[in-house]
Symmetry: C2
Subunit: 186 residues, 2 copies
């Protein structure tokens, strides 16, 4: 059950549900996303279970906020998750399933179109990650290896994101070439 643990990780500093949603969208979206309609009930459940405590937020601006802080039990739960070792083999990648069955289109042109559209998504994603990295680098002279731990480990995930999206992009190009070659052969 990762959502709970990710939220515990984000609650290193006190946050509202709305804050947590923003952190998902800004920092985690390459590998996890969550909707507000999942976050708010989960915060309530976690508080019931003693992993969090909450208080009415000191909000300078905007409507009243409920701000959550993780408890000692919450910190233990988080470290237990990390100490149990990596969770692997649970990924679901819908676009790969689609490529697997692309023969069902019975049309190489449509298959190429599909791969080009996928390539476009990957190119945009790569540009976003590169922009994030460039922004980080130019605003922090310690980037990447002298950052404090709380930023260094997140940077590792950005590093992999860049490699992986690049690998996807290169693969799309190979696929398009190979499908074209089949087409040429008839």
């Amino acid at each position: 059950m990762s959502l709970k643990h990710i939220m515990l990780g984000l609650l290193r500093e006190p946050h509202s549900g709305y804050d947590i949603k923003k952190r998902f969208d800004q920092s985690l979206r390459s590998f996890w996303r969550a909707e507000l309609s999942q976050i708010y009930p989960m915060l309530q459940k976690m508080e019931q279970d003693g992993l969090l405590s909450s208080k009415e937020g000191e909000s300078d601006i905007g409507p009243p906020r409920r701000v959550y802080t993780r408890s000692a039990k919450g910190r233990e739960e988080l470290t237990a998750w990390l100490q149990n070792g990596p969770t692997v083999g649970t990924e679901k990648i819908a676009y790969l399933a689609q490529v697997f069955f692309l023969a069902n289109l019975n049309d190489h042109d449509k298959a190429i179109e599909f791969m080009q559209e996928l390539r476009q998504h990957m190119a945009e994603w790569l540009a976003q990650l590169q922009a994030a990295e460039e922004n980080w680098r130019s605003n922090n002279p310690l980037y990447p290896d002298e950052l404090p731990d709380a930023d260094f480990f997140p940077q590792l995930t950005l590093d992999l994101g860049l490699s992986k999206v690049q690998a996807n992009l290169d693969w799309c190009d190979r696929c398009i070439e190979r499908i074209r070659a089949r087409q040429a052969r008839g």
Copy 2:
């Protein structure tokens, strides 16, 4: 809703629920997995919805089987899924979330252990993919570019699998080095 479409893709030839489970485990597990307890009810629902038809299986061996065939409506549903373009940005990668929060262990040795365990998983996974490819290559002189479409497109997903798992493995090595270097600096 990809499970339905993947099952439609697998039902290019008539299959039982048990057969479908084997195809998930053998060919799709790098990017999708499903349990029998999800497959059987889904087959029933899909038949109700007119995407499949079923009959008592001609089973030479073993207990009676129910064998499903996709209907014209099922084929349309599958091509519609493919024609709607790639589904991206839905992946959840739990081990990356764990790396993101690894600072919470407050212990570089434990972080290195985590990355080594992850590296081990990736090495095993890579070996499996390489074995699958080698097996395929040695049993089929047409591998990879002269295969019929129904095998060529699946081969594309194996190609990406190999690149991606290799990228993960290299990244694990980089991470371990970088954490060690931090440790050395104190």
